[in-house]
């Protein structure tokens, strides 16, 4: 009995320690926010002391730091891919990040890119490691509860990638017994599981791992946005995207909640890029065709 009590006591102690860690982190976060953000809502006193600055929240942080920190994918061809030779991260998302850095700081090189995955990006944004997420991220109602989004900057749709010669020719050929691969935390998983009742998708850490698993014969189908699948097709032409898209995936740039200033700046950047033709230029450069409309 005595020992059992000790075991339960130990478990409680562990829970307390864990809960304590969580609380401590939150405390640090809000403290950090208070000191850095001269005009965070609620920090009214600070605002009065600093009337000259019109920048608020994260925008003020970025300008003080002289560098924009953007979370992009490092493993996604066409959008954000780290070139192992040069070490440079390149892609459509990266070019958008450069344009935002230029708008904010006047210089597109004042940009730090941090790697995010579908799994890590929201926690990293909310704990302040990155200022914004530009990482093939679909705008959804659920995510809007956690973060704010810019206007749509890319219109993708979910599709499927199969080995050439596969009997699966479109989403209609996928049954609940098909072996489908995807990535943890991606909206594409829910979409296809809803479309094919009873299907259980095998989920990997990132797209590179999922594609490696497909090539190792771990599944018949890899599903995600067509934009990412086209990149994989370029990587290994034994695989092809089949059928048409079966969802709309509007990509947005995610920003921490209550940072209207940064959302506005990002939207202005996007509008200016579209007006100047720069948007069409990078779209064509990466995707290989002109944007559909607008």
């Amino acid at each position: 009995m005595k020992t059992r009590g000790r075991v339960i006591g130990l478990m409680l102690a562990v829970m307390l320690v864990l809960a304590g860690c969580g609380a401590a982190n939150n405390a640090n976060d809000s403290k950090g926010g208070g000191t850095n953000n001269s005009a965070e809502p609620g920090a009214g006193g600070n605002q009065a002391e600093n009337p000259g600055s019109k920048d608020e929240g994260v925008v003020a942080d970025i300008k003080a730091r002289g560098k924009l920190v953007a979370g992009v994918k490092f493993d996604t061809k066409l959008f954000g891919l780290k070139d192992p030779g040069s070490g440079e991260v390149e892609g459509f998302d990266v070019d958008i990040a450069k344009a935002i850095a230029k708008k904010l700081l006047g210089d597109e090189s004042k940009l730090e890119l941090k790697e995010v995955t579908s799994k890590t990006r929201i926690p990293m944004l909310n704990n302040g490691e990155i200022d914004l997420i530009i990482a093939t991220m679909t705008i959804t109602e659920d995510r809007k509860k956690e973060v704010d989004f810019s206007d749509v900057y890319f219109k993708a749709g979910q599709s499927i990638l199969v080995k050439k010669g596969s009997s699966i020719r479109s989403i209609d050929d996928v049954t609940k017994d098909s072996k489908v691969l995807g990535v943890k935390g991606a909206t594409s998983i829910k979409n296809i599981e809803e479309k094919v009742p009873g299907l259980k998708v095998q989920q990997y850490e990132n797209y590179q791992e999922a594609f490696t698993a497909l090539r190792a014969g771990k599944g018949d189908v890899l599903t995600t946005d067509n934009s990412i699948l086209y990149g994989m097709m370029k990587q290994d032409n034994n695989y092809e995207v089949v059928g048409s898209t079966f969802t709309d995936e509007p990509y947005g740039i995610a920003i921490k909640k209550d940072e209207a200033g940064l959302v506005k700046l990002v939207n202005e950047t996007l509008e200016e890029m579209k007006a100047s033709g720069e948007y069409d230029k990078i779209y064509e450069q990466w995707i290989g065709e002109k944007p559909a409309d607008e």
Partner: protein, 217 residues
């Protein structure tokens, strides 16, 4: 505050994950103990070839990361035409990796029994098998129990590697719950609690066993 809905709304995910982790751990545990014993016997056998095989096995699997051992089964074997799913490759990887450590623990235990014991037993007329059975092994077991149970505890915790190869274990489902709730701290805190449900009884049982052996000695 801890958000209990993370647990209540994803109860099934946690439960399936816990069940699979338990299942993978038990299989890897039994397998690594059997395999580890064989390798230990190889290493202390008087036959040079067996010794070399045992040493090569231990040095290889003890000195490369567990993730790579698992990848070997998951991504390497398909090149040879053998396709295993994430659960099976993860469990095999775990078994092979842990068996190297267990082999070392068993070997050390047997070698720790002083040579004089064997000599005394043999000179009082016991055969080699009798010497092992009645003199050396009972003493070796006592020495071996603590390090082996440590390896078993490590094995249960290392089983989280299955999460990386879609092995449907507790960690895998934890990642999925996290993707669903965005509540990272609470999600993984419950994952940690579920691991404790598996490891604490194991730790407790090993302590009981140690005490029993200590008394019998």
């Amino acid at each position: 505050m801890i958000d209990l809905t993370v647990l209540t709304e994803h109860w099934e995910s946690y439960f399936i994950g816990l069940r699979n982790t338990l299942f993978a751990s038990l299989m890897a545990l039994a397998g690594s103990f059997a395999l580890g014993t064989v390798i230990a016997v190889f290493r202390i056998s008087p036959i040079k070839v067996l010794q070399a095989c045992g040493t090569a096995y231990v040095e290889l699997f003890r000195n490369i990361p567990l993730l790579l051992v698992v990848y070997m089964f998951f991504l390497g074997l398909p090149a040879l035409g053998i396709a295993l799913n994430g659960f099976v490759s993860g469990t095999l990887g775990l078994m092979v990796y842990t068996s190297a450590f267990i082999a070392e623990a068993i070997r050390a235990g047997i070698l720790a029994v002083p040579q004089g014991q064997t000599e005394a037993a043999r000179s009082s007329g016991l055969t080699y098998v009798q010497t092992m059975r009645y003199v050396v092994l009972p003493q070796a077991v006592k020495i071996v129990v603590p390090p082996i149970t440590n390896q078993f505890l490590n094995l249960v915790k290392n089983s989280s590697i299955l999460g990386v190869v879609a092995g449907l274990d507790l960690m895998y489902y934890g990642d999925l719950v996290n993707a669903d709730t965005y509540n990272t701290v609470d999600t993984y805190m419950f994952v940690a609690l579920f691991y404790l449900i598996l490891t604490l009884p194991l730790a407790y049982a090993s302590r009981l066993m140690e005490r029993r052996f200590a008394r019998s000695g």
